[in-house]
Symmetry: C2
Subunit: 339 residues, 2 copies
DNA sequence: CTGAAAGCGCTAACAT
DNA sequence: ATGTTAGCGCTTTCAG
């Protein structure tokens, strides 16, 4: 709690000028005599003045902060979010740009309906100037709610429906095609995939892209088992796949964590990766490098994407009433040892 | 950006009462005629009124939000933080209590000197009522800076030095003693430990406690290799330990992630856990259950501790000028299969 | 129980 | 280039 500190008035008195002048100096507005600037500056440090954000935003209607909202439903949401390198990369990417622009990043977690409306209220009351939301489920109502509340919003991943929000996204289907092409080129034909819940649009697209590419190559039987983006779920999916299709020679997982789990299981079963079964992941996250063997994976430039999203938001905030715009990134195959 | 919405004044006009009355209704202050309350309430929904937080805190000097600050130094901080289940548990625990108390939790990340002062400024300007900081390094200046800035602060883990901040902590030494006792009881004598940087006080304490307990039992030669709290670093530490001390029969790791890495390596080397080498972790995080074999570990009730910290903060905020208080939790051994 | 009125600390016209 | 002044929207005495 900031106890009642010195105000502009105090500084003004101390410096022998008017409030307005001090305000100008504080806000770096030109048209202030350099000497007076000096005097004011000294008075500021002498008094230990800090601008009161509430008073300031009451008149400017801005806070200088933007919210980075992590949204999804489920138990122990934070525990899951904080166990997936993906979110860390998003945060890192967004933070970098925001810091550089002098914007204070504020993380908000919306893990339940209650939390969601708290977040909407909070932002609706003007706690931040805009929101960058990272949402996992297709049917996440949050982006729509925010837009409806008049909050400038940009989403990571194309938003479900068509709220008027800018977004950044990856061409997930193209990425999956890359994976399929690689597996095929390596001579693998008995392919399967570890997908993820359809509620995650990206997962759905990866699955579609993979199937499509294989179909185009004449491979139509493609076993699919769904995981939940975690290594453990990848393990289990792999176990089941192997049980039902012992002759598999290639697997595509919708993210690196599941690919890692799959590799773990395969090796425990005494199978060689990629000798017996080739494995391709998705994301090129830290898990890809840590996996044994290192994963061949589809690179998603998460940090760049997050930075782009943050930039979109900041620019949309600056240029009043501009159209929300968006940008789609192209994936890239990173060949390591697993396939 | 919340565009200029309806104000108290608008609602008052609509309801045919004064601003003051509307304010009383909004804030649930008693002494308002039930009928009038109804009228006002209707007017509120009809106009779609939302209180303006800036105006409100300008007079109340409160925001109804508290910051949860993740602090530490280092590259790609967010990426690391978001890869360790520990933080997720802290966030979950704190969120639970805060939500229940109707306090809006706001996450702040302080990964560099610049970020730290941005955070101090932000909070100093009254963006939140208090801060709960989770700090990793002994020499983290943040808690001190916050206290100096007059911000009510509570830390997770005893704060370095002696800032006037409340805190919650775990008796880490006792936890390490538990681990040592268990290993000893299992007949292991050729023990080693995977520690972590001394800059993390908890790690230091775990190391001290472990050595102490072993010394008391007459085991004085205890090889130590330091990791960095990650599974990968645990792997590497285990590799080195095994190379230098091939006859090891028990290992204590300062957290579960490193223990997990160690188990992984041991199994890859064809050694049995706990047959050849018993492994004990620390935290009882999700990694403990996912590990092969499931980890015997020292339970740290992170969620409870975080909730307690949040409670401390909220209460300190409520009761003006109370002494910052603190609470220390006792660890507990959870026996699974790894030792 | 309700209304009138005085600010909270700051920015932004508008004057000078 | 600097000062004056009018609010921003809300809570909170203080009267009534």
């Amino acid at each position: 709690m900031a106890k009642r500190g010195p105000t502009l008035e105090d500084v003004a008195r101390e410096a022998g000028v008017s409030r307005a002048t001090v305000s100008r100096v504080v806000n770096g507005v030109r048209n202030v005599d350099p000497e007076i600037q000096e005097v004011v500056r000294r008075a500021i440090t002498r008094t230990g003045y800090t601008p009161n954000q509430a008073a300031r935003s009451l008149v400017t209607r801005r806070t200088g902060a933007v919210a980075l909202v992590l949204s999804a439903v489920g138990e122990a949401f934070a525990a899951r979010v904080f166990a997936d390198p993906f979110f860390g990369r998003v945060v890192d990417g967004a933070l970098g740009l925001l810091r550089e622009r002098g914007v204070q990043p504020v993380l908000l977690v919306a893990e339940s309906a209650q939390a969601r409306s708290q977040v909407v209220d909070y932002l609706g009351q003007g706690a931040a100037d805009g929101a960058l939301v990272v949402s996992l489920d297709v049917d996440d109502p949050l982006p729509g709610m925010l837009v409806a509340a008049g909050i400038t919003t940009v989403t990571f991943g194309r938003p479900p429906g068509d709220p008027r929000a800018g977004f950044v996204d990856l061409d997930n289907e193209a990425g999956a095609r890359l994976a399929a092409g690689h597996l095929l080129a390596r001579g693998r034909r008995r392919l399967a995939t570890i997908a993820a819940p359809d509620s995650a649009p990206a997962a759905r697209q990866r699955l579609d892209g993979f199937r499509e590419a294989l179909a185009a190559a004449g491979v139509t039987e493609v076993p699919v088992v769904k995981g939940r983006f975690t290594a453990e779920s990848g393990r289990r999916a792999m176990a089941r796949l192997l049980r039902e299709h012992p002759r598999l020679d290639g697997v595509f997982a919708a993210n690196d964590l599941m690919a890692q789990g799959a590799c773990q299981y395969l090796r425990e079963q005494g199978l060689s990766v990629p000798g017996d079964v080739a494995v391709v992941g998705f994301d090129d996250s830290s898990a890809a490098g840590e996996c044994r063997p290192p994963l061949t994976t589809v690179r998603q430039p998460v940090e760049e994407m997050a930075a782009a999203a943050a930039r979109l938001l900041v620019e949309q905030l600056r240029g009043t009433a501009e159209q929300p715009s968006s940008v789609v990134f192209e994936p890239e195959l990173v060949v390591r040892e697993s396939a």
